[in-house]
């Protein structure tokens, strides 16, 4: 298992030292890791965003009571709020106060222009506890209490955006998977090339009684180092870019950035990428070399 950590494998240099593949492989692996990290982070961020859109925001709706008679309006508002609060599948039923409504309207009308005489509608925000419940039932119940009331579901506003986010999320995830697969293909290509270059050496070692795992370890050791170096370089570069972009989004985007940021689990997943790449490298090497060695008796 850890045969490639045996000092002898390096000490006796059965394979040539120095930079294999002209030293380019770690950089190539680094670049691929960088892309994978970005794609993974993008996918996770978009996934959070999509969850926020389809989950949090779109689960809430607003009841608007447009009733010129202030008393009747207040009455209807209270009745509807009570009805909504009574339901077990709703949460966060909030009646918006007059001042909050005024704040919403003010940008459009200019401050100080809205007198008491302006007939603002009453508004009640509510949210489904899980998923989206039976909107039609709510609609019916509300209309029974206030025929002029209107229900705004946020979902209808966010659904298109959520669709786009969903598509982008899957694009990012697919790219991530493709990048990882391509990295394995590149490593395999490089290993096959090395095996072909060092084929005579392998054959000679084999004839002289070297065990398969000793020979395999020579390759695993070298590629593991290259994979690890490349993975760490790429992951560091990727994380740096993610942090910078995240900060810029936080600076500029305000609220949205919060929805797009990563969970601690997400950060852990990103940090695991270089290890994964190194592991993938070793696995690719082991399979490729093993197959080559079993060609000989």
């Amino acid at each position: 298992m850890i045969a490639w950590l045996q000092p002898r494998a390096q000490r006796y240099r059965f394979l040539p030292e120095g930079r294999w593949a002209g030293g380019a492989l770690p950089w190539i692996i680094g670049m691929m890791t960088f892309l994978a990290t970005l794609a993974l982070a993008g996918g996770m961020a978009l996934s959070n965003g999509a969850a926020a859109l389809t989950g949090g925001l779109s689960r809430s709706f607003t009841v608007q009571i447009v009733e010129p008679n202030p008393d009747l309006k207040r009455e209807q508002t209270a009745a509807i709020a009570a009805m909504l609060r009574a339901r077990a599948d709703l949460a966060d039923v909030v009646v918006l106060g007059d001042s909050e409504l005024r704040a919403l309207v003010e940008p459009w009308l200019g401050s100080g222009n809205i007198g008491e005489e302006l007939p603002l509608p009453a508004m009640i925000d509510a949210r489904w506890k899980t998923g989206t419940g039976d909107m039609a039932a709510i609609d019916e119940a509300v209309r029974a209490l206030a025929p002029t009331a209107r229900i705004d579901t946020h979902a209808q506003w966010f659904r298109p955006l959520a669709g786009v986010v969903e598509v982008l999320k899957w694009l990012a995830v697919s790219i991530g998977v493709l990048v990882v697969a391509t990295t394995a293909a590149i490593v395999a290509l490089s290993v096959r090339a090395a095996l072909s270059t060092h084929g005579p050496t392998i054959e000679t070692l084999h004839i002289m009684g070297a065990e398969d795992r000793t020979v395999a370890a020579l390759f695993e050791y070298r590629y593991a180092i290259q994979g690890l170096v490349g993975g760490v370089i790429g992951a560091i570069a990727g994380l740096a870019v993610i942090i910078v972009i995240g900060n810029l989004l936080g600076q500029f985007g305000g609220g949205l950035a919060g929805e797009v940021s990563l969970s601690p689990l997400g950060w852990t997943a990103l940090a695991a990428v270089p290890l994964l790449v190194a592991l993938l490298t070793i696995l690719t090497v082991r399979i490729t070399v093993g197959r080559r060695l079993r060609q000989q008796l």
């Binding site: 002898r8 006796y12 240099r13 059965f14 394979l15 040539p16 005579p200 050496t201 054959e203 000679t204 070692l205 084999h206 004839i207 002289m208 009684g209 070297a210 065990e211 398969d212 000793t214 079993r294 000989q296 008796l297």
Partner: protein, 239 residues
């Protein structure tokens, strides 16, 4: 003395071709010295490939070191290979290793201590006239130098059996005699030696040697001495 190699009715074909070895049967006693002769393409290298476990026969049975190697699992072979020294027809030196490191290879594979490696290899290199080429890589060695490195590598670990394929094709007659003397000395110390060669004039140098003559894949053994060899005289340890 015990039997170290025993072929029983062995045949070998590569892929779907015709048999390049047919009905080979002989016994080799421990400590014997055997020449393998025959014209080009007769099957000398193929027979040696069977002996150094690079190839399984397509039929028949081969015993080496008292074990039926045709039925041994693949994982049991490396240990046996370490008891065999081989000089290949095309040398097969490792390009990126110096002459010293090439010769040291079998000792290092066997895990011998480095100080011992150095002493042994340096001594042997002097013996085959390569002391000055210690740190040269195969690419810068002359053909004869490469061949001597290959021979030194084959004998360095004092194998139980030494196989040499045309080991003197690239050296002058004087060096050829010297190398054959080395084989002979090893043989006297107990190593069983098999040498495939075209250089028939060398054979007279080892009077006690037996000869296996191949003709288009078949053994010529009119006397039947190979199938039932007389016991080998115990070698005097004189080196």
């Amino acid at each position: 003395m015990s039997t170290i190699v025993r072929f029983d009715n062995v045949g070998l074909r590569y892929g779907t071709g015709a048999e390049v070895l047919r009905d080979i049967g002989f016994r080799l006693e421990t400590g014997a010295f055997m020449f393998l002769v025959g014209s080009s393409g007769a099957g000398k290298t193929s027979l040696l490939r069977l002996l150094y476990l690079a190839q399984r026969p397509s039929r028949g049975r081969i015993d080496m070191f008292g074990r039926d190697i045709t039925s041994l699992p693949r994982t049991a072979l490396p240990a046996l290979r370490r008891r065999i020294g081989v000089v290949l027809q095309d040398f097969r030196l490792i390009e990126h290793l110096t002459a010293f490191d090439n010769i040291a290879l079998p000792l290092r594979i066997a895990g011998v201590h480095e100080a011992e490696v150095k002493a042994h290899v340096d001594e042997l290199m002097a013996w085959v006239g390569l002391a000055e080429r210690r740190d040269a890589r195969p690419a810068v060695l002359s053909g004869g130098e490469q061949q001597r490195v290959a021979i030194a590598r084959a004998v360095i670990a004092r194998p139980d059996i030494l196989l040499a394929d045309e080991p003197t094709g690239n050296v002058d007659p004087e060096m050829a005699g010297r190398l054959l003397h080395l084989f002979h000395e090893l043989n006297r110390l107990g190593t069983t030696v098999v040498v495939a060669t075209h250089a028939l004039h060398l054979m007279s140098r080892v009077p006690s040697a037996i000869t296996l003559r191949l003709d288009r894949g078949e053994m010529l053994d009119p006397m039947g001495v190979l199938r039932n060899p007389p016991p080998v005289e115990p070698a005097e340890l004189s080196l």
